[in-house]
């Protein structure tokens, strides 16, 4: 195993689509994002479908004996991940509003997300 780093920065898009609890997918996605952040690449994180539930304020994960994912998401800004998007329609169908989001994120429509995916070099979905 050798490190094979290439010099040019790539645009990596991560699409988080799972609810914060019930499966470990959301946590696994966050781990991928944070691992990428230290590589000095262009990172974009998109929450859509049940993934928007990860951003809901006032989560009480201790009740089911797991770590609070929302608290973990708050480190995104410390890792200098500024490009965070939330799919507007996913919020709407779950009865959520932008005011309920626990972290700074830009609410956007699906056309914008299409553009973000189109401009990406690598897309990870989980």
């Amino acid at each position: 195993m050798t490190m094979t780093l290439t010099p040019a920065a790539k645009q990596l898009v991560f699409i988080s689509r799972r609810s914060p609890y019930g499966s470990a997918h959301a946590r696994a996605m966050l781990d991928m994002v944070l691992a990428t952040a230290v590589f000095d690449q262009k990172v974009t994180l998109i929450f859509m479908d049940d993934g928007v539930l990860q951003l809901h304020t006032n989560q009480a994960a201790a009740g089911i004996g797991v770590k609070d994912l929302c608290a973990a998401l708050s480190v995104l800004s410390l890792y200098d991940i500024q490009k965070v998007y939330v799919d507007a329609q996913s919020l709407q169908v779950r009865g959520m509003s932008q005011e309920e989001l626990a972290i700074a994120a830009e609410v956007c429509d699906s056309a914008r997300i299409t553009g973000l995916i189109r401009d990406a070099d690598v897309v990870f979905t989980l």
Binding site: M1, T4, L5, L12, A28, V38, F39, Q41, T125
Partner: protein, 152 residues
Amino acid sequence: MPEAPTSVGAFFFATSCHGLSAVKFTIVLHAAPYTSQASHSALRFAQAALSAGHEIVRVFFYYDGVHNCNEFSVAPQDEIDLVKAWSSLLQAHNIDAVTCVSSAMKRGIVDEREAKRHELRSHNLQAPSVLSGLGQLVDASLASDRTISFGA
């Protein structure tokens, strides 16, 4: 370029790699063997890519995908042994393979070093895969033309 032998491979090469000669792939496997088709599909994709003359920079076993590296897995005689099949393919083509260490440890996939460190009775990481971190997935993606995930 010869036609890829599997449908999943043929579809991908036809739609995404048209006009590219030798493509560098990173393969990410998220799913355990036998529970879903993902492991077998990924294996067939890898075989198709290699036989079409492409390169696999690294296979990264993540999440439940680490179960593909459990040497203690025993397949019934009338089913494909996916753990051995992966190991054979990786060794035959000298492909770099990494098993996510944090995913693996909590699922009971350990190498000799970790077994000693945690005073476990045995170890079961299937060669040639090695335990390492998610940085190896990022590193491989940056060095590849295409990163393709199975079982996500």
